[in-house]
Subunit: 216 residues, 2 copies
Amino acid sequence: MTDIRRPPLDTRRIVDAAIALADAEGIGALSMRKLARRLGFEAMSLYNHVANKDELIGLMLDAVAAEIGDPEPDAEPLAAVRAVVVATRAAFIRHPWAAGAWLEHMPGPARSRQMEVLLRLFAESGLAPDLAHHGYHAVGNHVLGYTLQEIGMALGSSDDLEAGAHEFLAGLEPDKFPHTIHHVHEHLEGRTSSSFELVLDLILDGLVRLNDARGG
Amino acid sequence: MTDIRRPPLDTRRIVDAAIALADAEGIGALSMRKLARRLGFEAMSLYNHVANKDELIGLMLDAVAAEIGDPEPDAEPLAAVRAVVVATRAAFIRHPWAAGAWLEHMPGPARSRQMEVLLRLFAESGLAPDLAHHGYHAVGNHVLGYTLQEIGMALGSSDDLEAGAHEFLAGLEPDKFPHTIHHVHEHLEGRTSSSFELVLDLILDGLVRLNDARGG
DNA sequence: ACCTGAACACCGTTCAAGT
DNA sequence: ACCTGAACACCGTTCAAGT
């Protein structure tokens, strides 16, 4: 007896459903059993299409990498880097579980391509080889760290970012933590939205300036 | 019948044993049952001293924060920031599980103190308030992202970093990924060790330069 | 070729019962 | 006050059996 409402299972459908589940409920709520149930199958069926949960998460991450997209081909190299980094941040915000898993899995095809594009742009930027190398890591750290920080505080113990921030504030004695309290208030009042691109430009401009200062 | 070789359980001993276990086998190998067994108790006994696993990890993270230590009191503010960040990196390397969990838990007392120290140093640095705010995040992102990147690749699927890098390289077609292959080789040959402090200085110097350019 | 029931070896956590 | 056996509701994964 076949259920006509149930399309056959394939890797693509599994990965898409897993991403939807992780987007909606967090990666902690992603289990093989729950994912299969959502698709109308049993957990064991998934193993016909995916080696194990680790490989599944790797495929999910590469699907996120594929969303990032390429920069315009005729853009100036560091402007193109900037565009890719901004697009990466957007993808991480669409899929809040991705940044935390990003460095714990080997790059798949899409992310390898993304890496190659970024490294080529740095190589063509006119920066000295060591600055190109460090610049690649610097922008990667920035986008990853910044996004994790934005998402992370929400996970502290509350359901959303603002509740987490308030709970954290409530535990701080005002006379011992004046700077911390001020800092958290700046976040709560949304006065820090431009921070991501400001620091990104600081890094990119700093690389160019350092390169020039060496007599490039 | 009491076992004389078994000192009584307390929160401190539990946290220390949990850190030792996570340092040695990774945070994935940390379970309440295994931890209790190591200590010579049953899993349920842990719940007399710790609310749950999440709180335990929070306590572990705050113990790592407590290891970081304070900068010398008479140091120039941004030099003191630099020292704290370098010490943070050392702590993250001693406890490779800590960076990945850092932003998913609310700061405990030691980390709150650390936050306050850093924010005070930025406030006293002479930087404009918005640059102080962004600088705090920029150095935090740098130390976290950089350490995760160093540790992360090892977790891909192999046991150590070098094996992971080689496995990654083996999957790249040489003519399609020349820059990526070159980049990974630079890591394998250890030509990138100074990268952490170079980019850290780039961020700190960039903040000062941007501040000065505004007419500070 | 694809799906699945039963089973294995684990989890975190609660609760009532012991001392 | 602290410890624990039994139990509950979960996990990921294997494997033999089905179609």
